[in-house]
């Protein structure tokens, strides 16, 4: 949770930090699936992830406003495994927590957790964009 308070910036340091948000080892595992890079798998996966993240975070915001805990739970469920796959380990961990929390009605109003997820999602989105821009 080291970058929660970090504003969205586009300076060099910030880009470097955002890149660090994605676990290199996980990304290396992705590359193993396309060792020669012939199919551009890593790039395609990241692009797909970025699009799905954007859409799902929108869904998440709307569900939060509408108080739809079931949708929140499903979005968290979907995001956790793909985020883990692209190396967004902290974000994936947040998704696990949210999914679990939304399954229990008395934990439903844990707004701090939901805030944290929203903020981390932006960091991950930036990190992905940064990776796509440089790779």
């Amino acid at each position: 949770m080291k970058s929660h308070a970090m504003p969205a910036t586009h300076d060099i340091d910030a880009v470097a930090l955002d890149r660090a948000t994605l676990d290199e080892a996980a990304l290396a595992r992705l590359s193993e699936l396309d060792p020669t890079g012939a199919t551009g798998l890593v790039g395609r996966v990241l692009k797909t992830y970025a699009l799905s993240l954007e859409r799902l975070v929108d869904d998440f915001s709307r569900a939060r406003a509408d108080g739809r805990h079931d949708v929140l739970r499903r979005v968290a469920h979907t995001l956790k495994s793909s985020s883990s796959s692209v190396g967004a380990a902290e974000f994936a961990a947040l998704c696990v927590q949210v999914e679990a929390a939304m399954g229990v009605p008395e934990n439903a109003e844990s707004s701090a957790l939901l805030d944290a997820l929203m903020i981390e999602s932006q960091r991950v989105a930036r990190a992905v964009q940064a990776r796509l821009a440089t790779d």
């Binding site: 996980a26 595992r29 992705l30 699936l33 396309d34 199919t39 798998l41 395609r44 996966v45 797909t48 992830y49 699009l51 799905s52 499903r74 469920h77 979907t78 956790k80 495994s81 793909s82 883990s84 796959s85 692209v86």
Partner: protein, 751 residues
């Protein structure tokens, strides 16, 4: 579902077809890439609905299914395809969260084959899929072999059953019959049937026996194998073969039986039919030779044990051959069937033998061996397994002869048949079945020789006549049937014109590879009376040959057939000849009859009427061996005779002794003065020919011209000798003709 073949079996690398379903595009992409990398052919679907669509469209070996998805989730997809025909057994791997116990349970309830926690351990995922595919393949093979077994059982009208006895630890006694088994008993599929209900399908008497067998088998925990007659609900009777083995629990106690039931009705019918064909004569339904010998051997065993006598009666239908030839084979068969029926009614004939009881001491079951059997042709045998003595056997034989006397209506007319019966007794006349058969045969032939239509007991004296002669006689009896008789023909030559003017038919017997000359069998045929059927055959054959020659080279002369005088005594001779010539469409004059002078004179009064009738219908009579007997000249002038044949003994001595020339001259002169044709036989050289010609005999036969030859050779002989006028005697004959003409023309000739 059609699984791609196992590479381990086929040796070919086949990519298993995976349908991957995940709503998360990233996961879908990654998992697909990982599986492709590991040799799978992957099709992706991002929703449950899309997955179901693709499953319908393309063959899939394994489904990898995300459990939690929006819309139709993985559980629902799984449930749907488990209810879809053809997809019930598709292997499904459900992808769940790492600690998602709830999903794991739901996955199994929905019918998933296995689950896999989502992770990036791709090799583990691939290994799990290979394992699933192998299990599915094994399952499919099992299904196939089960289906094959069911099909095979169905084809074999076989089914399986399982019976658990009460208190065997598996609850109350239970009985289960497979669908194929239900079909064996004619019951609809899925019928619930108890063992008791099945037993009730067995008819009463057999049911008690079956219950006893079942109790014995169960008490000793032994293997059950038995055939049971059952009556199905629709009333059909079937035979069910049941075979079962005991099953044991872990304590070694028999807890029940597992086995098969099979409808063996058709097999049983076929077996019975085969047994029947092997043991019974197809025409008459009587036991055949094999069955009769088997019975006779059993009867001798019993007789040796108990010490009584056995009788074997050999019965032959008299003149069956004539009936067969005149009325046709179908009528002959009808006659045999009727004779069989009558003979059978003369004994206590049993079709079935109480085989099991034959060995038991004190039992009289050997009496069930009593039967009449057919050995073949018109030969029947009666086996009397216990007789008090020869009188018993004679009584039965007498009944048989009596039973045959009533006319039999076959081929549109009444036939009168008689039989000849020979009797041999065990142990007196033979110790084995073969001896008894042979000796009853000898006795039967003695009846035939003595004029048929009677019975005779075997006596050693009958065999004393000489085995060779007996065998010859027995073989001669069958010679006509077997087409062993042939006629050879010797041409009669008119030496003046050097033309053939007729032939004499001479009988030969083709026995095995040798040609038996008439001297070796005609006397025996005379003695036994066989000469009658032999002569009758010769008349038919001569008529047939006359027709064949008339068609092939215009033969229009006559074929002379030698007849014994006893045939002339028969009132049906004229009718017989008429039938022979009519059958082949030749005129009556095609047949000429030769009767010896001695034969004619011996029984002149009885023969004369036949001679007149024959003459009326155009059949010429020739007196054979003329000059050897003591012909009454007075009779010769009145008899309807056309020709006399100078005996060979006079011809042989012609030109050697003056006496023979004198007798020859006298004979020829006598015949000529009576207006008869004269023919000389046994002419062997040109000198004899020349003398005979000079004496006024122009027609001759003998080796000088030709030996008796087969019919085909006669045609060749005509073509190669007579027509080209090549033989020496033709030259001589011409010379004689010339000198004769000169003699007539010379002024000093005596007219």
């Amino acid at each position: 579902m059609q699984l791609n073949a196992d590479p381990a079996v086929t040796g070919l690398e086949v990519r298993p077809r995976v349908l991957l379903v995940d709503d998360d595009q990233v996961n879908l992409m990654l998992t697909a890439a990982a599986l492709r990398e590991r040799g799978f052919e992957v099709v992706e679907a991002d929703s449950g609905d899309r997955a179901l669509e693709l499953l319908e469209q393309r063959p899939t070996d394994v489904l990898v299914l995300d459990a939690v998805m929006p819309g139709r989730d993985g559980f629902e997809v799984c449930r749907t395809l488990r209810a879809t025909e053809g997809l019930e057994h598709l292997p499904v791997l459900m992808l769940t969260g790492l600690d998602d116990n709830e999903s794991i349970n739901r996955a199994f309830e929905a019918g998933a084959s296995d689950f896999f926690a989502k992770s990036q351990q791709w090799s583990l995922l691939a290994g799990r899929l290979h394992y699933l595919l192998r299990a599915a393949r094994t399952r499919q093979e099992l299904e196939r072999s089960k289906a094959k077994l069911a099909r095979a059982q169905d084809l074999a009208r076989m089914g399986s059953f399982d019976w658990r006895r009460q208190g065997s630890g598996t609850g109350p006694g239970s009985f289960a019959l497979s669908p194929e088994g239900l079909r064996v008993f004619g019951l609809p599929n899925a019928t619930l049937v108890s063992l008791r209900q099945l037993l009730r399908m067995v008819p009463g008497a057999e049911r008690h026996g079956l219950m006893r067998i079942l109790r014995d088998v169960m008490n000793t925990a032994s293997v059950l194998t038995t055939d049971v007659p059952v009556t199905l609900r629709d009333g059909r009777s079937r035979i069910v073969h049941a075979e079962a083995e005991p099953e044991y629990n872990e304590h070694g106690q028999c807890v029940g039986y597992a086995g098969i039931v099979q409808d063996v009705t058709d097999r049983r019918i076929a077996e019975d039919r085969i047994r029947h064909l092997a043991n019974f004569d197809a025409l008459t339904g009587l036991p055949n030779r094999r069955q009769l010998i088997w019975r006779a051997e059993r009867a001798l065993d019993a007789a040796r044990r108990i010490g009584h006598q056995v009788a074997l009666l050999m019965i032959d239908v008299d003149r069956f051959k004539v009936i067969n030839d005149t009325l046709g084979h179908a009528a002959g068969d009808d006659l045999l069937v009727e004779v069989a029926r009558r003979l059978r009614s003369c004994v206590r004939h049993s079709d079935q033998v109480m085989e099991g009881a034959l060995e038991s001491i004190g039992s009289r079951s050997h009496r069930t061996l009593e039967a009449v059997g057919r050995l073949g042709g018109d030969e029947f045998v009666a086996l009397l397994p216990e007789v008090g003595g020869e009188e018993d056997a004679e009584r039965v034989a007498g009944r048989m002869l009596e039973s045959m006397r009533d006319p039999i209506f076959v081929g549109g007319q009444e036939c009168f048949v008689t039989g000849s019966v020979g009797i041999a007794l065990f142990p007196r006349d033979g110790a084995s079945v073969a001896d008894l058969l042979r000796n009853s045969d000898v006795a039967m032939y003695s009846v035939k020789s003595a004029g048929r239509n009677a019975l005779a007991l075997y006596t050693p004296h009958l065999s004393g006549r000489g085995r060779e002669k007996l065998e010859l006689e027995s073989a001669l009896h069958k010679a006509i049937e077997r087409n062993e008789l042939v006629l050879h023909y010797q041409p009669k030559i008119d030496v003046r014109s050097a033309r053939m003017v007729g032939v004499e038919a001479l009988m030969r017997w083709q026995r095995g590879g040798t040609l038996v000359p008439p001297g070796d069998f005609i006397p025996l045929a005379e003695e036994t009376g066989l000469i009658i059927p032999l002569s009758e055959w010769a008349l038919r054959e001569a008529a047939r040959q006359a027709k064949v020659w008339s068609l092939s080279f215009g033969f229009a002369d006559s074929v002379a057939v030698n007849l014994p005088n006893r045939l002339f005594e028969r009132s049906d001779l004229v009718e017989h000849i008429h039938q022979a010539v009519s059958t082949y469409g030749v005129p009556h004059r095609s047949i000429q009859l030769e009767i010896t002078e001695t034969g004619l004179m011996r029984d002149l009064q009885n023969v004369i009427p036949s001679l007149h009738r024959l003459n009326e219908i155009g059949v010429e009579i020739s007196i054979d061996d003329f000059g050897t007997g003591y012909s009454s000249l007075a009779y010769l002038t009145t008899l309807p005779i056309s020709e006399v044949k100078i005996d060979r003994s006079f011809v042989r001595d012609l030109g050697i002794t003056p006496q023979s020339s004198a007798v020859g001259t006298a004979n020829i002169a006598l015949a000529r003065s009576l207006g008869l044709r004269v023919i000389a036989e046994g002419v062997e050289n040109l000198r004899q020919m020349e003398v005979l010609h000079r004496l006024g005999c122009g027609v001759m036969q003998g080796f000088l011209f030709s030996r008796p030859i087969p019919p085909d050779d006669l045609e060749t002989w005509l073509k190669t000798t007579v027509l080209p006028r090549r033989a020496p005697w033709i030259g001589q004959a011409n010379a004689l003709e010339v000198s004769e003409n000169q003699r007539r023309l010379s002024p000093g000739a005596v007219a």
